[in-house]
């Protein structure tokens, strides 16, 4: 992999983010709006209903982390859609750019964009609701890592599906992560799901991340169990996503889809 080509992909999407109001909205507006709404709700739960502060912290923390996961998965796919919408694919893939460099560039720029959104949401939660996520970060790092890895895998898979089925399935960019939200146990524990759904939830790294996060934030310490389950599942999903993406890309070249996608 050549770093100058990875940087070119990063620079291309940094320019797009600067020029495209939709990207700025995605990056900052939604995470901030989410935290604003959840902030008022948890304030009500704390003052009006008398909910324990640690449970309120867990709700706000989960909202921030889900926002991060969702943004990352969406931005990977939208980054690719930007090439399709601007009919730039032929220009891009007639350069020496490899698919690994392209995906690495997308991951880097989306990591930066997600951090801006999460940073803005966290600062708002801190200043408006006195919820400071930053001291929790060291305890949450293992679960953040699993969330980010799963978001990579889903983002790559969604991009692969768009490669194969073109803009007909572009809605997946915004909806795929949402599909997993009910079974990822973001705001409630795994045991609150019906038995048959728990088995599905167990297969998702997001469930292990949010279960582990809750344990850490209510003082139960680090859960190696949830961390390693998350890592193991991520290894499988990541390998599958990369494998499927490469197969789809090669198939697109064989079938001439790369030049017809536009």
């Amino acid at each position: 992999m050549k770093s100058h080509r990875i940087i070119a992909v990063i620079v291309r999407h940094a320019y797009e983010a600067r020029r495209n109001a939709d990207r700025i909205t995605d990056m900052v507006y939604w995470p901030v709006l989410d935290i604003l709404m959840w902030g008022f709700f948890t304030t009500y739960l704390g003052r009006g209903v008398g909910m324990r502060p640690d449970v309120i912290n867990v709700l706000l923390g989960a909202t921030i982390l889900w926002g991060m996961f969702y943004s990352f998965q969406r931005d990977m796919a939208v980054g690719f859609l930007d090439e399709l919408w601007s009919r730039n694919l032929l220009n891009l893939f007639s350069t020496p750019l490899t698919i690994n460099e392209y995906v690495t560039g997308l991951i880097c720029i989306n990591l930066a964009k997600t951090m801006v959104g999460v940073g803005a949401a966290s600062l708002l939660a801190w200043s408006a609701y006195h919820f400071n996520i930053f001291p929790w970060i060291p305890a949450l790092v293992p679960y953040l890592l699993n969330l980010v890895l799963f978001a990579f895998a889903l983002g790559i898979l969604t991009t692969g599906l768009i490669f194969r089925y073109t803009t007909r399935v572009q809605g997946l960019a915004w909806s795929f992560a949402g599909l997993l939200a009910p079974v990822s146990c973001v705001l409630y524990p795994l045991k609150s799901l019906p038995g048959w759904l728990r088995a599905i939830a167990w297969m998702l790294p997001t469930t292990h991340s949010f279960e582990g996060m809750r344990q850490a934030m209510v003082g139960g310490g680090f859960s190696p169990y949830h961390f390693w389950w998350g890592i193991g599942l991520n290894a499988i999903y990541f390998a599958l996503a990369i494998g499927i993406f490469k197969l789809v890309f090669e198939a697109a070249r064989t079938r001439g889809l790369l030049v017809k996608l536009e």
Partner: protein, 246 residues
């Protein structure tokens, strides 16, 4: 030969788009690729660019196989077509910066300035692509195609949207690149007088097959099957296109 295409075949299901095409291009040569719509020109060009995988056959460029040395080969090549676009919200400068980085161009800003001057679009530097005319867009594409000073340049109807004055400037720039640097160019166009003036040799395709290769006068004589004093590619093209329809 700088480019060697050997028995290239591309099938899409039951349809054979390219059927055993072979030709070579010498270093510093301007090779035209002609043929009616559906002759297989674009598919052949896209296989040379590595955008489509051939069903069979081999493409060797700079003595290396495209199948195994894609990155290395594309690093020394470039391509443009008025039918592909750039991200339309980004300015001309931003787009060229991205591609200069993509090719690892040394002193990218100096090179971008040179290209903007050469194609007379320096005044458009800070304009978003969306606000350019078709002709201006084509010139941005040409500036991008010359950014890395390629050894091999693939041009798909590069003068399609240009007025005669700008088209003339572009042709002069291509001839200059060939004479100064020995740049090799593969060129498709539907403007026959332009091809006659610019191309050293022509590969003529029809129904996915090569029907003639040679200089403009050789192609004229071979396809019209009579002695001629001067090339008459327009006549050749019309004859082939009518026969293809019949």
């Amino acid at each position: 030969m700088l480019v060697q295409v050997e028995n290239l075949i591309k099938r899409f299901g039951d349809f054979t788009a390219v059927d055993g095409v072979s030709f070579g291009i010498k270093r510093g040569e301007i090779m035209g690729m002609l043929g009616p719509n559906g002759a297989g020109k674009t598919t052949t060009l896209q296989m040379i660019l590595g955008l489509i995988t051939p069903t069979a056959g081999e493409i060797r460029i700079f003595g290396k196989s495209m199948a195994t040395h894609r990155e290395e080969i594309l690093d020394r090549m470039n391509f443009t077509s008025p039918y592909v676009a750039f991200p339309y919200r980004m300015t001309v400068q931003e787009n060229l910066t991205v591609f200069a980085r993509m090719y690892g161009v040394r002193e990218p800003q100096r090179r971008i300035d040179e290209m903007l001057e050469r194609f007379d679009i320096a005044r458009l530097r800070d304009k978003p692509i969306a606000r350019l005319s078709s002709g201006e867009n084509t010139r941005v594409g040409l500036a991008k195609a010359m950014l890395n000073d390629p050894d091999l340049l693939l041009l798909d109807e590069p003068t399609a949207y240009l007025d005669p004055d700008i088209a003339y400037q572009v042709k002069e720039a291509l001839l200059e690149a060939r004479s100064d640097r020995g740049m090799t160019i593969l060129y498709t166009s539907h403007n026959m007088s332009e091809v006659e003036r610019l191309c050293d040799r022509i590969v003529f395709l029809n129904h996915g097959r090569v029907i003639a290769i040679g200089s403009p006068i050789e192609i004229t004589q071979a396809i019209l099957n009579e002695e001629r004093e001067a090339p008459a590619l327009e006549e050749v093209f019309l004859r082939v296109a009518r026969e293809a329809r019949e």
